[in-house]
């Protein structure tokens, strides 16, 4: 059935959104910054994966790991150079800086390698098809879904079962108190960026494998949509980003399925505006009042 097919497409798309959204939500949770450049880290991951596979002849997993590692370092660099000096600045200043960094990465990439797109080879992952409920599922989809799930489970493990994860949670509740407890806040923030960026890098490789075409400005729209997904789930809340991403992917696919495919990009923004009007704290969020 067409519906089931679109549902599966939606979940695959959604898991990509979810991986990117996790980075947004973790960074916002810890320093209350919307990291506009996050979508561009996703783009960098896609390109690193591309060059690893075509240039260095790597297979899927090594390429994935390389992309994650590079993006991880990249994310920390961005944080240290551009965001750290603005830790105590106004939110507007930080947001503007993030926008500036994002544009710098995009147009720097174009300047360096040109704006032409690249195509991921189609044979990196084994491609057999399964037929379930009248829908065709490619093994690629399953692979991608599987990888995303593994990464998300890994993230949950890190956040809840490791020391650094505990530090991240502490700093996001109250940075001052965490500092007084002996937690190195700077390093914790950098670790957050590192992990979030690694996930975005993975999403980039996965995107390339699934959708084949990549280009320097590819991060803008998925980045914005992933941010919407994070807000949908409740910004700052990790399970929220996962659910939000999957939900958004499914909604988008269904909208496309019922015939409004030209509007699919607009779906995310309509969802955003609805959420901000009716439930700004998101699906899983709590209302935090400003102290008067």
């Amino acid at each position: 059935m067409e519906f089931v097919q679109q549902l599966i497409n939606g979940i695959s798309l959604g898991s990509i959104y979810a991986l990117i959204a996790l980075g947004y939500t973790m960074v916002y949770g810890i320093i209350k910054l919307i990291n506009f450049a996050h979508g561009d880290v996703f783009m960098v991951g896609a390109f690193v994966g591309f060059y690893a596979i075509t240039g260095l002849g790597m297979s899927f997993f090594p390429a994935l790991l390389l992309a994650m590692a590079v993006c991880s370092v990249f994310g920390v660099l961005i944080e240290r150079i551009a965001y750290k000096p603005l830790r105590n600045a106004t939110r507007i200043a930080a947001l503007i800086t993030a926008i500036g960094v994002s544009l710098f990465i995009e147009y720097g990439t174009i300047y360096v390698r040109g704006a032409q797109p690249e195509a991921y080879p189609g044979d990196v992952l084994p491609s057999t098809s399964f037929h379930i409920f009248g829908a065709t599922i490619s093994s690629q989809s399953l692979f991608i879904l599987g990888t995303s799930v593994v990464l998300m489970v890994l993230l949950q493990f890190i956040v809840h079962k490791t020391k650094i994860g505990k530090a991240m949670r502490a700093v996001s509740y109250d940075a001052e108190a965490a500092r007084l407890m002996g937690i190195n806040v700077d390093n914790t923030i950098s670790a957050t960026f590192a992990i979030g960026s690694a996930l975005a890098g993975a999403a980039g490789v996965i995107f390339g494998l699934y959708y084949i075409k990549i280009e320097p400005l590819m991060g803008i729209i998925p980045g914005l949509k992933a941010f919407v997904a994070a807000v949908l789930g409740g910004i700052g809340i990790i399970p929220g980003a996962m659910v939000g991403g999957l939900l958004l992917g499914v909604i988008e696919s269904l909208v496309s399925a019922v015939g409004y495919s030209l509007w699919r990009d607009g779906v995310a923004f309509v969802v955003l505006i609805l959420i901000l009007i009716f439930r700004p704290s998101g699906l899983f969020g709590k209302n935090v009042r400003e102290k008067v």
Partner: protein, 324 residues
């Protein structure tokens, strides 16, 4: 005495405005400037209108709106429809463009009341994108290939609109209404507590700001022969945002100066769009780190020209100690 100073300033401004107009007209009709310079001049004026209109929303009222290109688009397309499809005169089309954008401003302004800071920014960004995507999918206005528009913009129109925009916003700012908006920017909770209807003024700022963005849209549409949805994406919003931020959040003269400077930079880097973006983004980041106040902070250029007398019993004001 203050009255005489104010009257002097008033007549001086009139003379100055007239001079600029005449010089511009002479340079253009006398064909002293080639089309590149004329275009740049028009672009400059349009950018100043955009910068000043966004300044009212962000700089004065503190509402972080980064989808301004959406209002520009509404104005551009609305006015283009009136000239190209409905054969209306240019002046009427411009006004319609402004009004249509003002309605959009009203639509955006109302939900914005519930949103603050980052959330408002993202919502306005989303609005801008929705407008663009909407236009992309409507065949009546040409969809992705856009709409052809006759060249009706000339120096008189551009200058007149620029003058009106500046006068309106300066007059608004230097009044109790401007102070009300600034108080919202400074401390919204205190503004509420002092009897300011913050809802009314936030929406008013959006409506007035978007009206002028719409006018700019009309001028823009009728200057470049064709308008397409891609002209009105986030990059355009960002271009306008950088005028206001670079100039100094809260300074109208800063926004004007930044608009002039960046239009010139943009014109000369026309053939190197990536370089332009790299320079813009670097300037933005560096400025936010080292001089977040921008060029002028919240000061106005008039403050450098008039002597402010403070603290003397019966002392005079320069008449302009609020803003602009």
């Amino acid at each position: 005495m203050a009255n005489i100073n104010r009257k002097k300033g008033f007549w001086l401004s009139i003379v100055l405005a007239l001079a600029v107009y005449v010089v511009g007209q002479v340079l253009i009709s006398g064909e002293i400037l080639n089309s590149f310079y004329i275009n740049t001049l028009f672009f400059m004026a349009i950018n100043i209108i955009l910068a000043v209109s966004l300044h009212l929303i962000i700089g004065i009222t503190g509402q972080f709106s980064i989808g301004h290109a959406g209002f520009l688009a509404v104005g551009a397309y609305a006015s283009a429809i009136f000239t190209m499809k409905l054969q209306m005169p240019f002046g009427v089309a411009l006004l319609v463009g402004g009004l249509a954008a003002a309605v959009a401003g009203l639509i955006i302004g109302i939900p914005s009341l519930r949103l603050k800071g980052d959330y408002l920014a993202i919502a306005t960004l989303g609005f801008g994108e929705i407008v663009r995507i909407f236009l992309l999918n409507v065949d009546y206005v040409g969809g992705a290939s856009g709409m052809q528009v006759s060249h009706l913009t000339d120096w008189t129109w551009v200058f007149a609109c620029l003058l009106v925009t500046i006068i309106v916003i300066v007059n608004f700012t230097n009044s109790t209404h401007g102070r009300a908006c600034i108080s919202i920017r400074e401390n919204e909770i205190a503004a509420d507590a002092m009897g300011i209807n913050t809802t009314y003024y936030k929406v008013a700022a959006f409506v007035i700001g978007s009206f002028f963005a719409g006018i700019a849209g009309g001028l823009y549409a009728h200057n470049f022969y064709i308008i397409q949805p891609t002209n009105f994406g986030f990059l355009k919003s960002f271009d306008i945002l950088i005028f206001v931020v670079l100039g100094g959040l809260g300074s109208m003269s800063g926004a004007v100066i930044a608009a002039i400077l960046l239009t010139i930079v943009s014109a000369f880097l026309q053939d190197y769009p990536e370089t332009r973006m790299i320079i813009y983004s670097l300037v933005l980041v560096v400025m936010m780190i080292y001089r977040p106040k921008g060029l002028m902070g919240t000061k106005e250029i008039t403050q450098f020209f008039t002597k402010k007398r403070q603290g003397i019993e019966g002392g005079e004001s320069d008449g302009k100690h609020t803003a602009a």
